[in-house]
Amino acid sequence: MTDIAAPSSPRGAFVMRHPSVLIFLACLAIFTVGVTVLSEGFGIGVLSTSFIKTLGKTLCLCLVALAMDLVWGYCGILSLGHMAFFGLGGYAIGMWLMYARTEMIVVESLSNAPLPPTPEEISDGIASQIFGVVGASDFPPIWGFAHSLPLQLAAVVIVPGILALVFGWLAFRSRVTGVYLSILTQAMTLALSLYLFQNDSGLRGNNGLSGLQNLPGLDSVSQDAVSMWFLWGSALALGLGYVFCAWVVSGKFGSVIRAIRDDEARVRFLGYPVEAFKLLVFTLTAIIAAIAGALYYPQAGIINPAEIAPIASIYLAVWVAIGGRGRLYGAVVGAAFVSLLSTWFTGGQAPDIVIGSFRLQWVDWWTVLLGLSFVLVTLFAPKGLGGLVDLITERRSPDRHGADLGPDMGSLQEREAEK
């Protein structure tokens, strides 16, 4: 229990004081190199491209889990809306991918016409190609920037950022906290996904944006290579995200947000602008989630409103809880572990269990197991998988003389614990 609120130190010292960051980065690097060597695109071809894509997507999920851990495990805001920001990031990048690819097709097909195409004809052609599916042929206004990659990349950050800022400002200003805030964020997610489900929303309704794995102008590059590029990109983003989050939570800022988690009123009495801190964390994590989404959906190939459904955000909370809140590697491990396990179980690879005449198929029962294990983790192992690390390193929670470790029992900051 030494200097929790230590002033931020020079960079070298930061890494030295956080060996877990180095360990994590090393693991990530080894993983990436290993996958590259084993891949079809650049290596010996042991891992299939579809599995590479799964791994790449898992890295993105780890990144959004990091964001969730920051906002929930460290700041105590149980947001059930971060997958909405994730999805918005995907939509933003998806718009450019669809537009640019369709533009090439349209320009190509119009180049044979007797008259050279006018910009209006090209634009109409793209619109009817993209929106023909939903029975429309005009560009909605929100596609105004879709032609430009830099603008859409900016939108990946700006649109979810502004949504989080406005929503957070309204909610925190009204002192909506705790479970109320959770339900409110869930309602926001629901409203957003219902809105996107409408065909009139201008984002192709239920069909969403598809064909995102084909990068415009790179038709000749095989998906074996593209999937590796995205894996590298995702690994890089995860590494940077991890360092960034570790830096955020290590300094004085980190101490304040943990204090807000443990007792908001006291922090307010101490003179800190609690709302501003919460708003900053909420918006920041929304942006991280959006970046993760922008990397995820080109690998998934399609984004549609079902991805934003409230259940997705709940699963995000499940990953973080199972991995262990309030420690960054916990979130990463939880997301990777649960989502890969989920893939394995629902993929039909897991052997069925035969109990007498009853045949337990994991495809059917996996969700039940997940739900129940979630209950068990909440009840008996609030530290999640991260608790195993504590067992090994013999780290214990600080003795608070019988009092709880704050409102979120599972949240544990590693430096706070005692050897």
Binding site: T54, A113, V133, N206, S210, I302, V363, D364
Partner: protein
């Protein structure tokens, strides 16, 4: 187990008996990918199709396989998760090296799979009625295009029931939207004024129908016969039909023709209040033909349940599978390009009588049936048309009217007949 052993040895014996000339380019066993959701929201519909495929593969193996090879069904579960469909399709084509895929139900899952199938030059048979406006080189659409379901049903409303005012009710997703767009311009071309077409979209699983049904009843106030064309999907139908019954709307007052209500959906409803309402499909279980009787008997035996019903997408898989088998035998290989060429003009018997033909636009020519719901959850077939050729691009939307699809002659699925050029070789997803 014994049976499999027997068929394997039978197949081996056949091959030994001097048929090696037939076993050309195919690597045994021939793998048939089955890409249907076994969990999640679509599981109930798609599991049936997975079982159908397993039954067809089993029957074919008992009949000696294809090209002297045993067929093997490779089943994966995309879990009603649309991105997962793309991933699983890639896995089927690259990891399992399947020769053909039968799969998908929803349009969005098909759109998700399309880029992968086209990239890896796979072959997909899609068995469900859909909104059209698509033609992929690598997909054969064995379900109905709008002109094989929606347009004939609308004609039936106009001509047989004298409907003058239309309520187009649908769930808010792509199939109802596009179908209703097509129907709107079709109706306008038939002289129905725009103000006599009422359109409403509801969310998936909608349950509070009172206002919408009142609105529909109120349409009758100007003395015109009202008819409802329903593209309402799945569960939402339960509440809709209950509300119709509660407001005392009978099929004689306001007939409803549904495009997404089949035998399977009716099993979730008490049909006594629905008698007389209509559905349009290419197949009804009540069709009285020997092929259908055999198919139903096989199905009940395979599934081991006497109460299970058959439905339209099952027939689509039946036709698709038979055509693919014939095409493979004609081509003498399972190579995708060769099989595709052999598919054009391929014929296979319908379960409702007559034969279905594969057209160069990758759609089928098959008959359209209109049925009335009966008390026992089945359909009374009121009319059956001649074979209607499926149309990939509808003639009733201005952007699509100029497009045509002909993979055999033109080698293009999106050919603009006005500018005489191919818009694109890949499909629009």
């Amino acid at each position: 187990m014994l049976k499999t052993l027997f068929t394997t040895s039978a197949a081996a014996a056949l091959m030994a008996a001097g048929l090696p000339a037939l076993a050309q380019d195919a690597e045994c066993p021939i793998k048939v990918g089955v890409l249907h959701s076994l969990s999640g929201t679509m599981a109930i519909s798609e599991t049936t199709l997975k079982d159908t495929m397993e039954m067809l593969v089993k029957k074919q193996n008992e009949a000696g396989g294809v090209l002297g090879c045993e067929l093997e069904a490779v089943v994966v579960d995309p879990a009603s998760d649309w991105p997962l469909f793309a991933e699983k399709a890639r896995e089927l084509l690259t990891v399992h090296d399947v020769d053909v895929i039968f799969g998908n139900w929803t349009s969005v899952s098909r759109k998700s799979v399309l880029p992968v199938i086209e990239e890896l030059n796979g072959l997909l048979f899609y068995p469900v009625q859909y909104e059209g406006e698509e033609s992929s080189k690598n997909v054969f659409y064995t379900g109905a295009a709008p002109n094989q379901q929606a347009i004939p049903a609308t004609d039936y409303f106009l001509e047989e029931l004298g409907v003058e005012k239309f309520a187009l009710l649908g769930t808010d997703y792509v199939y109802p939207r596009t179908t209703n767009n097509i129907l709107e311009s079709y109706l306008i071309s038939k002289g129905i004024p725009e103000e006599d077409i009422f359109v409403n979209y509801t969310p998936f699983g909608h349950s509070d129908w009172s206002k919408i049904v009142s609105d529909v009843v109120a349409l009758g106030a100007d003395g015109k016969q009202v008819g409802v064309i329903s593209t309402i999907n799945g569960d939402a139908n339960v509440g809709f039909y209950k509300e119709l019954a509660a407001q005392g709307v009978s099929a004689d007052d306001i007939p409803v023709v549904a495009f997404s209500v089949g035998e399977e959906e009716l099993s979730g409803l008490d049909t006594s209040n629905l008698v007389g309402h209509l559905a349009a499909w290419n197949y009804f279980m009540s069709a009285d033909t020997p092929e259908n009787e055999e198919f139903i008997a096989d199905w009940k035996e395979f599934i081991g349940d006497d109460k299970r019903v058959t439905n339209d997408p099952m027939e689509a898989h039946y036709i698709g599978f038979n055509m693919w088998k014939n095409a493979v035998e004609d081509a003498g290989t399972t190579d995708v390009d060769a099989v595709r060429d052999a598919m054009y003009g391929q014929e296979a018997p319908n379960l409702t009588g007559g034969t279905a033909t594969m057209l160069p636009n990758h759609h089928l020519a098959k008959p359209v049936l209109i049925g009335e719901i009966t008390e026992d959850g089945q359909f009374d077939i009121l009319s059956q048309t001649e074979e209607v050729p499926g149309d990939a691009w509808t003639d009733f939307l201005p952007e699509s009217a100029v497009l045509t699809s002909d993979w055999k002659e033109l080698g293009c699925g999106m050919y603009n007949t006005e500018t005489k050029s191919c818009v694109q070789i890949k499909s629009n997803y």
